[in-house]
Amino acid sequence: MKLNRALMRGRTLPLLIWICGLLVLWEAVSWWLLHVAKTPLAQSKLPYVHEVALTLWQYSGTLLREGGATFGNAGVGFLIGALSGVLLAVLMSLSRMIEQLAFPYAVASQMIPILGLAPIIYGIVRDEQMSRIIISGYITFFPVALNMLRGLRSVDPSALELMHSYAAKPWAVYWKLRFPAALPGLFSGLKIAAPLAVTGAILVELMGAQRGIGVIMLRNLYYGPSHTYMFWSTVLVGALLGMTSYWLMSLVERLVAPWQPEFRPQGGSR
C-alpha cells in the first residue's frame, strides 16, 4: 500500500500508463481491423505498432537526414521571423505612429489562414528553399511581435519610475527592465510559432521539393499499401519534429527566463 502510494504520487507513472495503454489499444485495434473486421487497406489505416517501429529503426538514417533538412529549413525561417518580430515589437513600443500603422494589420493577419498562403508563396518564389524560409518566417513573425509588444508594455510602472529617478538612459531602461519583462511574452509567442514553422516547412515540401521529410511522406503515400509502414514512420517523424521544436523552446525559456511562476515547484496557477 505504502509503495503503491509512493509510485502514484508522481505524474510520470500515470502518463506512462496512458501511453502504454494507448499503444496496446492501437495494436489490438490494428489486429482487429486486419483479422476480424477485414477492412480494406487495414494496415494503411492503422498499422501494427511494432512494424512501424521496425521501419523507423531500419530507415533511421534516411529519416534522420531528411527530418534534419526539414528542421534546419524551418529553423532558419523561424530565426529570421523571430528576429524581425522582436524588431517590429521594439519599434512599435518606441513609436506610437509605427504601432498605429502596424498593429491593426498584425491583428488582422492573425485571422487570415496564414498556412493557406503557402501555395501562393511557392507560386511566386518557385524556389523551395526560399519559400520554406519565407513561410516559416511569416508564421513566426506575428505571434512573436504581438506577444513581445504586450510584454514590453506590461512593465511595472513603479519600476519605470525608479529607473527614471535613477536617470537611467533609454537603452538602459530597455535592456534592464523592458526586455526582461518581455521575455515571458516572447517565449509564449515562440512556443506557438515553433510547431507552426515546422508545419509550414513540411507543407512546402509536399507541394514539390527535392528534400525533406514531407517529400518522402508524399512519395510513400502514393506508392500505396506496400509502403504503409514507411509512410507512418514519416508521419511520426513529422510529429516528433513539431514536438521537439516546442520542447526546445520550453528548454530555452527555462534557461533564459527561469524566474517565472510556472517554473516554481508549486506551479503558478494557484
Binding site: 494503411s44 498605429q100 491583428v107 485571422m111 487570415i112 489562414p113 501555395p119 501562393i120 513540411i202 507543407l203
Partner: protein, 284 residues
Amino acid sequence: MDINTVREFSSSNNVITTDTDQSRDPWKFLRWLNPGFVLPLLAGALFLLLWELQIFHRIFDLKKYQLPLPSAIAEAMRDNLSLLLSYTGYTLTEAVLGMLIGSGCGFLIALAATAWPRWGGGSLTMVAALNAVPIVALAPIMNLWFGDGIGSRAAIVTATTMAAMAINAYKGMAAVDPLALDLMHSYAAGKRAVFRHLRIQNSLPYVFTALKINATASMIGAIVGEFFFSSRGLGYLLSNSIKVAKMPLGWSCIVLAAIAGVIFYLIVERLEKVFIKWHPSRRA
C-alpha cells in the same frame, strides 16, 4: 496567440485615444479622423496602390502572372462568384463542425482532468502533444480513416482545436477562488455541485478565449486539409488554381478565406458578449 489579450490591448488603446468628452463635442465626426483609425487605412490604401502600379513587381523582379494585380484578383472574384461562395460555405461548414466537436472533446478532457487530477492529468499532456503534431502529418491519416468527404477535414479540425480548449478550460476550472471552494465545502457540496456551480462558471471566460483561438485555427485546418484530397472547398480550389497557373483565382480564394475567418471570429466574439454578460468579470 491570445487574440483575446490582443483585443483587450487594442480596445484599451482606443479608450485612451477616444476618451475625451464626446457628449458635447460638436466635432464628433472628427473622431473618425483620429490617427489610430486613419493611419492604417491610409497605409492599406497606399499598399494596394503600390501593388496596382506594379511597384512591388519592379522591386522584387516579379512578373504579373506570379503576383497578380488587385484589379485582376477582383475580376477573378467577380467572374467566379457563385463557385467561390459555395466553396466558402463548404469550407466554413467543415471548420465549424470540426471546431464544435473538437472544442466539445477538449472541454470533456478538461473536466476529466479536473475531476481526477492524477489520471486525467496524463490525458492533458497527451492532448498538448497532439497539438504539436503538424497538421500536414495528420491530414493524410484522417483521409485514410474518414474518406475524402467532409468527415476527414472535420476530423483534422477536431484534432487541431482540441488542445487549446482542453488546456484553457482546465486552467479556468483549476484556478477557482479558494475561498469559494471553502464555502462550497462548508455547505457540504458534492463534487458534482462544485463543478456545476463553481468550476464550469469559472472556466467560461477561458473557454471563450479558446473558442476565439480555435475560430482561426479551424479555418487553417480545414483549408490545409483540403490541399490533400478534396474535390471541393477553398483549399482545393486554391491549390488547384496555383497548379494550373490561375494566380488571380488563387488569391481570391485567400481573400474569401480571410473574410470568412474574420466573420467566424466576430460571431464567436459576439456570442462571448452574450454569454458572459452575467459573469462577475464583465459586470465591473
